[in-house]
Symmetry: C2
Subunit: 181 residues, 2 copies
C-alpha cells in the first residue's frame, strides 16, 4: 500500500487530496481538504498560512509520496506567481521530510482519470467520484483536482497498459454507459 | 541604523546584498554573496539548497528588513517559475522570523540607483560601486543587483506593501473582494 497526497497549488485555495493504493489499480479515498489564505493578507503571511496548513496535513496523514500539479507560466498570468510559490513550498515540505515528490501536468492528470487530456472540471470531478466510489462529488473543485492528481500518480506509477483501453478510459466509458441507463 | 538584506531571487544563482543605512542617504556595504544550486539537481533539492543558504545568511547577518525583487510572469518565461519559487522562500524566511519584507520592481531599483528605470546592468553595477565606495565593481552581476535592491529600499523606504499594489490596484482588489462576498 502506498499513500499518495496530491496538491493542487494555489495561494487563495490550495487543494489537498489523499488516497491509498490497494491491489492492482485499486485506489481508496483517505481525505480531502482545502487550505485557504485571505486575499487581504500580505503575501508573506499568505505563504506562511498555506505552508503551515500543508505541513499539518502532511505530518498528520503521513503520505509516502507527494504529487503536485506542474505550474506553467503561460496559464493564468494573474495568479501564476502565487501558484508557483505554493508549489515550491509543497516541494520543499517533501524534500525536508525525505518524501519523494513528483510533478504532473494538468493534461496528464485529466488523461489519467478521464482518458482525455482536455477534459473539463465536471468530467474530472465525475470520474474522481466514480473511481473512489464516493457518495457525492468531492467539493470544492480544487479538492477534486487534488484527488485526481493522487489517482494520476497511482496509475501512472503502475504498469503502462500495453494496448487497448487504459483503466481510466474503461472507467470513463462505463461512466458514460451508466449515465445513459 | 537599519540593516537591509536585498535578495535577487534565482534558482541557479540567488544574489544577496547587505547594507547598513547611516545618516541621511548614507549607506554602507556589509556583505555580498550568491547562493547557487546545480541545474542537474531535482527541483525540490535545489529549492532546499537555496533556502538553506538564505537562512544561513539571514541568521548570521541579522537584517532588520528584507528587500526582494518582484518577479513578473511576463519576463523570462523559461526561468520565471523557479525565480518565483525562490522569491516565495525568501518571503517565508522573513515572515517566519518576523522580519519586515518589501518587494521592489526591477525598474524601481534601476531608477533608485541610476535615476533611470531602464538602465542596463553595467550602469547599475557602476552606480552600486560608486554609492558604496567599493574599490572594485561587485561581482558577479547578481550580487550587484542584490546590493542595488538594498540601496533602493534604503532610499525609497518601506512604504510599498509586499503586495506592491498602487492605491488604485488596492481599490480594485477591494471591489473584487466585495463583489464576491
Amino acid at each position: 500500500m502506498t499513500r499518495i497526497l496530491g496538491v493542487d497549488p494555489g495561494l487563495t485555495r490550495c487543494g489537498v487530496g489523499v488516497i491509498d493504493t490497494g491491489r492492482g489499480r485499486d485506489v481508496r479515498f483517505v481525505a480531502v481538504d482545502v487550505v485557504r489564505s485571505d486575499t487581504g493578507e500580505a503575501l508573506e503571511h499568505r505563504l506562511r498560512i498555506i505552508r503551515d496548513g500543508l505541513v499539518e496535513l502532511v505530518d498528520r496523514l503521513k503520505p509516502d509520496v507527494l504529487a503536485i500539479e506542474r505550474v506553467f507560466a503561460q496559464h493564468n498570468v494573474r495568479s501564476v506567481m502565487g501558484t508557483a510559490q505554493v508549489a515550491g513550498l509543497a516541494l520543499l515540505i517533501a524534500a525536508d521530510r525525505g518524501i519523494p515528490v513528483t510533478l504532473h501536468t494538468p493534461s496528464e492528470v485529466k488523461a489519467a482519470v478521464t482518458g482525455y487530456g482536455r477534459a473539463d472540471k465536471k468530467q474530472v470531478t465525475a470520474m474522481v467520484q466514480r473511481i473512489l466510489t464516493l457518495d457525492a462529488p468531492p467539493k470544492p473543485a480544487d479538492a477534486a483536482d487534488a484527488l485526481a492528481l493522487a489517482i494520476c500518480h497511482a496509475w501512472r506509477g503502475g504498469d503502462s497498459p500495453s494496448g487497448g483501453e487504459t483503466p481510466a478510459q474503461r472507467a470513463w466509458r462505463d461512466a458514460l454507459n451508466g449515465s445513459r441507463s
